[in-house]
């Protein structure tokens, strides 16, 4: 008996010891393992947007009905989605970035937080006053405000615990991304590629907000936390060190200081490799003639050590961008077979229209294929050099300023923007919301003024010609072969993040405002018209034995900026075209979270 209990103690003590070892870690990784929660914006560290819940399945999804709704009372675009931990939901709003803690029992508001922010930040937000949601760890809620303040709140009371500022809106720096909690750190980025800001990410101590490390996308090696001898990149068919001054030598003079390469996307983290993955945005300006060179490391996939920030490997997808194909989209970590071989892969659906499968350990380029057949700016990615083969007639650089380059696919919105795809470990496939839109693009000469848009191009967009006439598709993708499995046409671009579940249901929202459930073959099972267009991400959770699915409605995207900025001409704001003066009144409802469940039998 005593021997037995000693053995038991041994097990328990080991568990305790293991717990003690990782005491510095936050609890969020553990919380994401319980599918009743939705503890991170992407559901987990891998950006899977997948849930093990299966009460709602492909047979009964057609019965889904409204369980409850919640209005944020804020207009404009509602991106991201709620977090659910235990019996509480945490929900954010666009500027002024309200935070609500909502009881799942009766939807009463436990607490509300509304930061005081200078509204002059609004006109320097390029693409509407969106916010992509909150993060949670160790009893704290993290909010990345528009004015670049990162704040930690007590999850029980909503009281401020600490605050730090990570940028300066006066020079066009703003923030829209969710904070990412990896281990004992909170990571955040910066927006403002349209204002010539210099992109970077910062890692903060979750307890104090203190900056642990900061890594720029452009500039001198030490400021990028890059080791010329150890940071690797795909070179001539194999991995090789980047060498000294890998960024500096790809810019003219000190243009790298206004280089863009912002970091407002969805990061991921592999605990075994202790590596964080994220992408960088477009180089500034949009007029490529003004910034000769590859403009490194804009448009790049970064792999960094979480503890030190040192770059392990980098891969630039669109050297010398000529179309605003930001590389910030989600980095999805999946262990899949690539060309028959099991790999620890990183899968990334880039705005440039190529879906990349990388070896996330080594950084090798494995697959780069178009995930919309209309993509035409490059014929293919040369697998030896890793460079896209640009088609001369779609090169806005070759055609030059004040020349309208016509028929470029995709448009500057990309074949996909930030709205995150979903990965189902059950099928090994990726479910991807996409744009099916082409553009005419005309760059012009521009001077830099701090805090002013540094865009330098006008563009006009239209549905991909000679196709189904719609502006979007929802697709299933095999990242191991680089092939499309199916594609479901949509009338408008799909700007909502997807969700897959163990019930073999795939959810996504549309700009008409439909939340749709489809089966694994893309067959529509159910749709429901919510109050407004959906650009939020679908989430699911369980409370008291019942599975719920929720999504934010509230379109806006880049809406209202013309009004807020006091612009009077349609083309003044950032490639903005046409009139916004009669801003639709229907938005009075504000953003609404609509929550669905199966009816009681």
């Amino acid at each position: 008996m005593s021997f037995q209990s000693r053995l038991t103690c041994l097990g328990a003590c080991l568990a305790l010891a293991a717990g003690a070892v990782s005491a510095a870690d936050s609890d969020v990784a553990r919380l994401t393992k319980d599918p009743k929660n939705w503890a991170m914006q992407a559901g987990d560290l891998n950006n899977h947007r997948y849930s093990e819940l299966k009460q709602i399945n492909s047979k009964n999804a057609k019965n889904l009905s409204v369980a409850w709704t919640f209005s944020t009372g804020v207009l404009r675009g509602h991106e991201g989605g709620p977090l659910v931990i235990g019996d509480t939901m945490y929900l954010h709003s666009p500027f002024p970035n309200k935070v609500f803690a909502i009881s799942l029992e009766d939807q009463s508001i436990r607490w509300k937080y509304e930061p005081k922010q200078d509204p002059t930040v609004i006109p320097v937000m390029c693409c509407d006053t969106v916010n992509r949601g909150l993060a949670y760890a160790n009893g704290k809620i993290f909010l990345q405000q528009a004015d670049t303040t990162l704040v930690a709140l007590d999850a029980k009371t909503g009281n401020e615990i600490w605050k730090v500022k990570v940028g300066d809106p006066k020079i066009g720096e703003t923030t829209t991304n969710t904070p990412h909690i990896f281990k004992d750190k909170v990571l955040t980025g910066i927006s403002g590629g349209e204002f010539g800001v210099r992109g970077r990410i910062t890692a903060h101590d979750i307890n104090t907000g203190k900056v642990v490390w900061k890594a720029f996308s452009t500039g001198p090696d030490q400021e990028m936390l890059m080791d010329p001898a150890k940071t690797m990149t795909w070179t001539d068919g194999k991995m090789a060190p980047v060498g000294p001054n890998s960024s500096l030598k790809t810019w003219q003079g000190d243009q790298w200081k206004l280089g863009g390469g912002t970091t407002w996307g969805w990061y991921s983290y592999d605990p075994e490799l202790n590596t964080v993955y994220y992408g960088t945005g477009n180089p500034s300006t949009w007029n490529p003639r003004q910034r000769p060179g590859d403009n490194k490391w804009s448009m790049t996939i970064f792999a960094r050590d979480l503890d030190t920030g040192m770059a392990k490997w980098v891969y630039q997808m669109t050297p010398h961008d000529e179309w605003d194909y930001d590389g910030v989209n989600e980095m999805i970590l999946a262990d899949i077979k690539v060309k028959g071989k099991p790999r620890k892969a990183l899968v990334h659906f880039d705005r440039n229209g190529f879906a990349y499968t990388m070896d996330r350990v080594s950084g090798e380029l494995l697959v780069a294929e178009k995930y919309d057949p209309v993509v035409n700016w490059a014929t293919h990615v040369d697998m030896k050099s890793g460079r896209p083969q640009v088609v001369a007639k779609y090169s806005t650089d070759k055609n030059g300023p004040d020349v309208n380059t016509k028929g470029v696919c995709p448009s500057a919105l990309g074949t996909k923007d930030q709205q995150p795809a979903s990965y189902s470990p059950r099928t090994g496939l990726f479910y991807v919301p996409t744009n099916h839109v082409c553009m005419d693009y005309e760059p012009f000469q521009i001077e830099y003024t701090a805090g002013q848009p540094y865009v330098g191009s006008t563009l006009s967009m239209y549905a991909a010609p000679n196709s189904h006439g719609g502006m979007g598709n929802f697709i299933a993708w095999d990242a191991g072969t680089g092939k499309m499995v199916w594609s479901k046409p949509e009338r408008f671009s799909v700007w909502s993040g997807a969700l897959t579940t163990a019930g073999d249901v795939v959810f996504y929202g549309t700009l008409e405002g439909y939340l749709k459930a489809v089966d694994l073959n893309g067959k529509e099972l159910w749709k429901f018209k919510t109050p407004s267009g959906i650009i939020g991400n679908v989430t699911t959770w369980e409370y008291k034995g019942k599975q719920y699915v929720g999504v934010l409605s509230g379109i806006g995207g880049w809406a209202g900026i013309g009004l807020a900025a006091g612009l009077t001409k349609g083309t003044e704001g950032l490639g903005a075209v046409g009139g916004y003066k009669d801003l639709a009144k229907y938005t009075e409802l504000g953003g609404v979270l609509t929550v669905f469940a199966l009816p009681e039998r």
Binding site: M461, M471, W558, V577, G579, Y580, L583, Y586
Partner: protein, 121 residues
């Protein structure tokens, strides 16, 4: 600006007779929630006056006889989002296919408003 405005007028005028022709077969499939949503918004636009319960119901019933619910949703969204600013709004403003949807919907709604004595707002 002026020539394009003229063109728009001409295309609207051109489209008018088509609208008054016999409407195509349609399922009259608006869900109750879709009709209620329309009426609520329409009433709100007219200061919540009770008479608009009847007038706005009249409008949505007419629209439902002219369009399937799916087409109505897409076309009304196309019209609403004409006023979205920025690059994303360009998706709605620039694209001929979307402008076309918006234009047709506006025409149908204007006709229904007229028939139901609802002033255009």
């Amino acid at each position: 600006m002026k020539p394009s405005r003229l063109l728009l007028l001409m295309s609207l005028a051109g489209a008018m007779p088509a609208a008054s022709a016999a409407p195509p077969a349609h399922p009259d499939d608006f869900p109750t929630s879709g009709r209620v949503e329309y009426v609520l918004e329409c009433m709100q636009k007219h200061d919540g006056k009770y008479e608009y319960l009847y007038k706005c119901s009249c409008v949505v019933d007419r629209i439902a006889r002219a369009l399937s619910y799916d087409d109505y949703v897409a076309m009304s969204v196309a019209l609403r989002n004409q006023s979205l600013a920025g690059e994303r709004g360009g998706l709605f403003r620039d694209a001929a296919s979307v402008k076309d949807m918006a234009g047709k919907y506006k025409e149908i709604e204007t006709g229904a408003n007229k028939a139901c004595a609802v002033p255009q707002r």
